[in-house]
Structures are given as structure tokens and as C-alpha cells.
Amino acid sequence: MKNSLTFFIMICFIFISCQNKENKKVKADLTFRSVSFASAYGASDEEYNNLLRDINKSLSENNSNDDSKKLYQHFRKLKKLNLLKSPYIFLNLGGDSIMTVYLSENEYNKVKSFRQVDLFKEHKKIVLELDIEKKDIGIYYSNNIIKISKVEGKSRSNI
């Protein structure tokens, strides 16, 4: 009985540890990048289908250049995770650490109106608190922006 209880506690501990590792509550500054291509958000159906075709074609060819291959490998991973058409934002986690976070459309609507030029004029920045789920290495997703605060500070871009 004692051994069973110990085993149960260990399993619970491992389960909780794993849960904590993959899902975190994060507080970070919203940051901006002018030109990015982290998903096919905004693509029409035709453009999206063309992209899927290009992904398959590129990854089946040996002569694709490295950058195309890396991009399409990344996109193939996003497609498997159902994120290829998702909007995304950039978070500044301090110093020069920038995280790309994919969002649900609903959550994106909460932050898409913020413009760096406006924040710059106002000497403000946006601080987000959100639940982030790690989907894969370097791929993070949030379906819950808990809090949005506009505070004094410099809104960073392109660190």
C-alpha cells in the first residue's frame, strides 16, 4: 500500500512537472517587426494552396536552397500544428530575447490595433500577460491573453 501510494505521488509529480513545462503564464512587452513571414496569415485560399504545393515540392527536391528548405520545414511543422494560417505577435522577454507567439484570431483581435508609431509618440508600451503553450521547439501559441496594459515606457522594435 505504501509503495502504491509512493508510486501514485511520483506519477502525479511527473505529470504536474510536464504540464508546467509546456504551459506557462508569461508577462512580456509587445514588440514590433515591420516585415515578417512567420505564417501564411492573410493568404487567400488560392495563395494558401499554392504555398502547400510549394512546401511539398521544395521538401521533395534535393536542389532547393537551404533557406527555402528551412522555411518550408518550419511551415510544414506549423501546418501539422494547425498554425500555418494563424496570426502572430512578437514578445520582448527582456534584453534581446524575442519570442514569436501564434494567437487565435480572437486573441489577435485584442492586440492588432496597437501601432508602434502611436506608442512611440505617447512614450508608452504594451505589456501583455498571457498563457503560452509550447507546441514544439521554438513554436509557442496562446489562446488566452489575460491582461493588456498600456504603461509608461519605450515600445521596442527590431531588437
Binding site: V26, V35, A38, Y41, D67, L71, L93, K134, N158
Partner: protein, 312 residues
């Protein structure tokens, strides 16, 4: 267990606790990682200076740390300099471990991670960290009845490469201009106001202050008063939208040069779902072109001039 080892394990536990929680990476660097396409091929123990590609014999901290969640700080922990010193003497190991900086490499582990993390940032170009809120104010110090020197700066995604974009770029690409006149100087470039992507290429424009920004190649020439007036009036009254394919930062500087009488090469490249002028191809074309009279070219790169002169 030796006190030193206990201390290091404590620091590692503390570091692990901080992972993914916006904490600064701190403590002594213990392990280096040989990373390829996100896979850790081997680990290097800084304490024993032993390298291992066998994942089985190691356990605990000697197996290394999963790097994908390390947050990197630009603040140098003062305790890890010895690790950098050790590797600085071995170029092969430095390459294996993706040491991408040659100076101030205070966090070897973080830098190795940074090289991989950077590769996941799909086609990112920089925007203005300092947006210009009024071009009229920004340019008002110039005397438009006189000539000036115009410099076109090109920061390529990869220096000396015509690549339009990269997944593993050492830096982002941008084309921008600087004008100097009797001690007054201003530097700026064109950006989208919010964000542009291959699937959303068009956006209202914004100008950004690019003083002091790095570049790979620049070309300078003297413009007359008429050209200076044209450039400043155009910038102040600029109405065109930014368009990633047809009116991006490189298109803007090509237009400025053309309006000043200097017609520069404009090679086109493609990217997913589009294509057009770009800093990579433009920079390489500048390197290879025959230099027009009364122009000077700098192919060594460096930092653009800083803004100077205040007429308020």
C-alpha cells in the same frame, strides 16, 4: 560531493527554475552543445573539458540542458568569462558549438542557443526602432537653397550575398539614406507603418530614423539644391503606401537616387508569394557596377552617420 559541484548544481537548478519565465540567464556555463537542425548531437562538459556524443552514459546535468526555452540576456554575467577564454583558443570547437560572437561572448550556452533560435525566425526584416513622427521637423535644418551630400546605405541580409532573405541571417536587411550639409545630417528609411508580409504586402508607410545603423555597402554623391529640395519635399509630403513587392525600402532609395540624377542598378529577386527590389541583390549590384563619376563607394561597411545639427 564536492562543495564546488554542489554550488554548480544549485546554480543549474536555479537556472532551470527560471527557464521560460523571463528571467535573465545567469550562473556559470557548464555545458556546451553541438546543435544541428535543432538536434543536440553532442555535449561538452566545461568542467571536465570532455566531449560526449553518447546520450546514455550521462544523466542529470551532465546530459546538458534543453536549450529551446533559455531566455537570453545581453547583460554579461561576470562569472563565466573563463569558459569563453577556453574556447577562444580553439577555432574548431568554436565552430562546432556555433560560437557566433568573437567578443563579449559571456554566455556561450546562450549564444549557441541563439544561433539555432534565430534560424526559426522566418524571414524577418527590421523596422524602425525610432519612428519619425514628423518628416517636416526631421528635415527642417537643411538649407534647401544649397546642395548636400547624399549617401545610400545598404544593409544586406547576408553581407556580400545577393540573397533577398534568409532563415539564418546574421542580420536583417534594409536600404536607407543619409544627407549631410554643412554639419547638419539626417538619416532615414522607409518602412510599413505596422507590418507587411508576403501575404499582406501593402501597408501605409512610415519613416524611421536610421542614424548609426549598420550597413554593408554605401555609395555617396553630391546633389544640388534642386535635388535636395525635391528629396525633402517628397519625404514631407510622401503619400505612397509601403509595398513589400513594389515600394519597399530599396525602391524608395532607388527613387531618391534617380530623382537626383543617379540611376543605380535594380536587380529583382523573388521570395514566397512575391518578389522585387531588395537590399541583398541591390547591395551586390552596387559592388559590381562601374562607379559613376563623382561618386564614392564604401564596400567595407560600418555604421551610418549619426544625426547632427539642431536648428530649433
Amino acid at each position: 560531493m564536492l562543495p564546488m559541484q554542489i554550488l554548480i548544481i544549485y546554480q543549474l537548478l536555479h537556472l532551470l527554475q527560471d527557464l521560460f519565465s523571463q528571467q535573465i540567464l545567469s550562473g556559470i556555463v557548464i555545458s556546451g552543445f553541438d546543435i544541428s537542425n535543432g538536434n543536440i548531437l553532442g555535449t561538452f562538459n566545461f568542467l571536465t573539458t570532455s566531449y560526449s556524443t553518447d546520450s546514455e552514459p550521462c544523466w542529470g546535468i551532465t546530459c546538458g540542458i534543453t536549450l529551446s526555452e533559455v531566455m537570453i540576456s545581453s547583460n554579461a554575467p561576470s562569472t563565466s568569462n573563463w569558459a569563453y577564454t577556453y574556447y577562444a583558443n580553439n577555432a574548431n570547437i568554436m565552430m562546432n558549438y556555433q560560437f557566433v560572437r568573437s567578443a563579449n561572448n559571456y554566455s556561450s550556452m546562450g549564444i549557441a542557443y541563439a544561433a539555432y533560435y534565430n534560424s526559426l525566425e522566418a524571414m524577418v526584416y527590421e523596422g524602425p526602432d525610432k519612428p519619425i513622427t514628423s518628416m517636416a521637423d526631421y528635415l527642417k535644418c537643411f538649407d534647401i537653397s544649397k546642395g548636400a551630400q547624399l549617401t545610400i546605405y545598404v544593409n544586406q541580409p547576408i553581407a556580400n550575398s545577393n540573397k533577398a532573405w534568409t532563415m539564418t541571417g546574421d542580420k536583417a536587411g534594409h536600404s536607407f539614406i543619409g544627407i549631410t550639409q554643412n554639419g547638419v545630417s539626417r538619416v532615414w528609411g522607409l518602412y510599413p507603418e505596422t507590418n507587411a508580409s508576403p501575404y499582406n504586402p501593402n501597408d501605409p508607410h512610415a519613416f524611421g530614423n536610421n542614424e548609426g545603423d549598420s550597413y554593408d555597402i554605401s555609395i555617396s554623391f553630391v546633389i544640388n539644391a534642386s535635388a535636395l529640395q525635391s528629396i525633402t519635399t517628397n519625404a514631407i509630403n510622401y503619400q505612397k503606401n509601403y509595398d513589400l513587392n513594389s515600394n519597399n525600402c530599396t525602391d524608395y532609395v532607388l527613387g531618391i537616387a534617380g530623382s537626383s540624377g543617379l540611376f543605380l542598378p535594380d536587380p529583382q529577386s523573388t521570395w514566397p508569394n512575391g518578389g522585387g527590389s531588395n537590399p541583398g541583390a541591390f547591395g551586390e549590384a552596387l559592388r559590381q557596377m562601374s562607379l559613376p563619376q563623382e561618386t564614392t563607394i564604401d564596400t567595407d561597411g560600418g555604421s551610418a552617420i549619426n544625426n547632427n545639427g539642431n536648428c530649433n
